[in-house]
Amino acid sequence: MKVEIEVNNSTDPKAQFVTWTPCPCRIRVTDPTGVTASTVNLRIAATAAAAGGEVVFRAGTSGAFSATLTVQVPTSGSTVPFFAAGRFGRASTRSGDATIQARMGTTSVGTADVMVRIRKNANALTSDERDRFVAAFAQLNNQGAGRFSDFRLMHTDESSPQAHFAAGFLPWHRAYLLDLERELQAIDPSVALPYWRFDQPAPKLFNRDFFGVSDSLGAVQFSAGNPLRFWTTDGVQGINRRPFFNTSTGRPGVRTEAQTLALGGGGNLYRLFRNLEGNPHGTAHTSFGGSISSIGTAARDPLFFLLHCNVDRLWAKWQRQFGRANPAQASAYDSNPDNPVGHNLADSMWPWNGIVGGDRPSTAPGGALAASSAVSAPGPQPRVQDCVDYQGSVSAAARLGFDYDDVPSA
């Protein structure tokens, strides 16, 4: 007998990725040879390679997850749903290092290789994870000729009001990072965007094999085999980044994570929490001289995306800690009547909406937001509200398909 296991309700290899958030799966009998009963009991479990990801299961949309799950599956070929998730704290380190297996008795009747793909602290990546990420990023840049040029053009002085100075700062950047991450995953599906935890030293990040070491001039130096040495933006090769702190032992003078999470005040209000846009976000940017320290040039430095990944992680952590995932909840967003266009919950966001002119910039580089084989949200033209409930804890369909290593599922 054989069964087929669908992860994210798909057999597409690009969909075989899970996070901490429950993802819908299905199992069905594809070949009932050797079974005469109309149903069969199957035990679903996962195996993990050493240091690989661990997957847990449950039958429905609620309840605890466990290492194994028994399901009764019709031999007619009808599907039976179940849910899988990565066990919190046990992310994969490479593609396919976890296997979901279905057994009938002691016989394996079907498998699906998966990856518990999680956004991690850049300073804690394995060398393999680091090299794959760097290779994908350099490929996306492709010496200035690659798709990365669109991401660079999305973040300029002209477009800055679309993404800054108002409530939509966090959702806009969440969509921006997600778009970039999905483009990276189109190059290498095993890659997830890491974050620069800027309130801690990150010597492994500021390393020639990773994001480089700046010389006294602020010219970033890479090892000979690091493809980021070919990084080119605006027709100019190289990265200018001059840290005002010791990148081997120190950190920028930003608010700590605990201080940042407390920004929401006694009521844990988004309208107060979003002041992280100043410190730590702005302070992290300006703890360097060089491209990253001006809005118009910041996206020329790839570190920008890891900086913002941490900003997004802080938001995610705040949302999780204080239950602020529901965009309809007043404390979860700042629905100010004075919000400019693009910053209201129901507003679509430039550039993905393709709207130009008027209050929007004159062009909209990059087109629609990249799709994912694993999830359908936030859609090609996301609205602000589509980027709030990233784990789908309020509405499962809102799940965006990423999680952070230290932010569990709601």
């Binding site: 200035g144 669109d150 002085d157 002209e158 605006d234 027709g235 004159s362 990059g366």
Partner: protein, 410 residues
Amino acid sequence: MGDSTTAGAPSEQQLAALVDTLAADPDRRHELMDLLREDHAFYDQRSTTAISRMRGWILLALARFGLPETALVFVLEELSTGVDAYLVAAAARALRSHPAPAAAFAPFVMRALTNVRNRDEPVSFDSYGDYAARDTGTSAVRELLATLAWLGPHAAGVLSEVEALRTLRGGLFSRTLRLDVDRAVAAIRDADRASVPAADSCCGVSDNIGTSSWVRDSRRDSRSIEQAVFEDHAGAAVSFQEFFRGHASIVVFFYTRCDNPLKCSLTITKLARVQKLLATRGLDDRVHTAAITYDPGFDLPERLRRYGQDRGVRLDAGHRMLRTTDGLEALRRHFNLGVNFIESLVNRHRIEAYILDAEGRVARSFERIAWDEQQLVDHAVQVMNEERDATAAHAPKSGCCHRAVSSAGR
């Protein structure tokens, strides 16, 4: 302040002195128009910022003695696509020296306000090459608002947009500027001025400003360029003759390192829309389109392809993005391109689109002012239909603000 000097070329101060001399002589003032041609030798090997200083000074010179009609297109060009505060301020001031305000100017002024409001800075017109190091009492936005006040009731068509500036969120307008907005609004609403007849006949702004047409017999032949060779977005070689002969073509010019999103990026985005319009009318096989880069050394096929694809451009045998591999000078002459260079990089160019007839000759040109997609397609259809009606002569369009049709050919 000292100015830049390139070896053998007149210095900026010499140019400024020449401009002042020409401006002061009523019999030579018309020569200033020639200095505004992008391909003028004065701009060769100059930086973009130097060119802004130079062109701004010429516009200010024109403003001192009244803006002639032939200079209007340069002023409107700057208002429509300029992003340099000094140059836009100079254009706004120059417009106020036009013999009479016209309603048609108002949209250009509003467009400039949108373009420059995130890049505003104090400007100084006291002497050539001045950069404001303090509040000088004026800036690009202040000059534009003053121009709106000058337009008075002629700007009634944009009154609601001007009033909206008062409540513009995002702190874009300081208290001083809000007073300027109030003054502009008051001037627009001024009942006493409303009785003054509008100068909206010829020499306000013609619908076809920046557009030129050539009757068949007057077009420069294409023999000098027929052997020019291009490489397209897929790396295929094609000669001018092979691609452009036998059908009408729409040609635009651009380069991927253009840092003014209102020029090249928008041009290519609009080209994509032109292609869709052609397809809608079933003309995409009969009218070819081409985007030719000014920067063939850098804009290799992969860059061309990515740039086009990211802006929705259709790429196939009849619709290509091209770089010249042989015959660049012939190309420049054939199209009389409005571009100049610093080394191999473009330092200044105008917006330019052309329609070629079936013999590869320039039949229409659309320069400086942003062209309309539908207009472009309509003209292409006219040129395409010439072959069907070879006996009908296309009379040159009458009215001012057009380049005179030359019987000697282009």
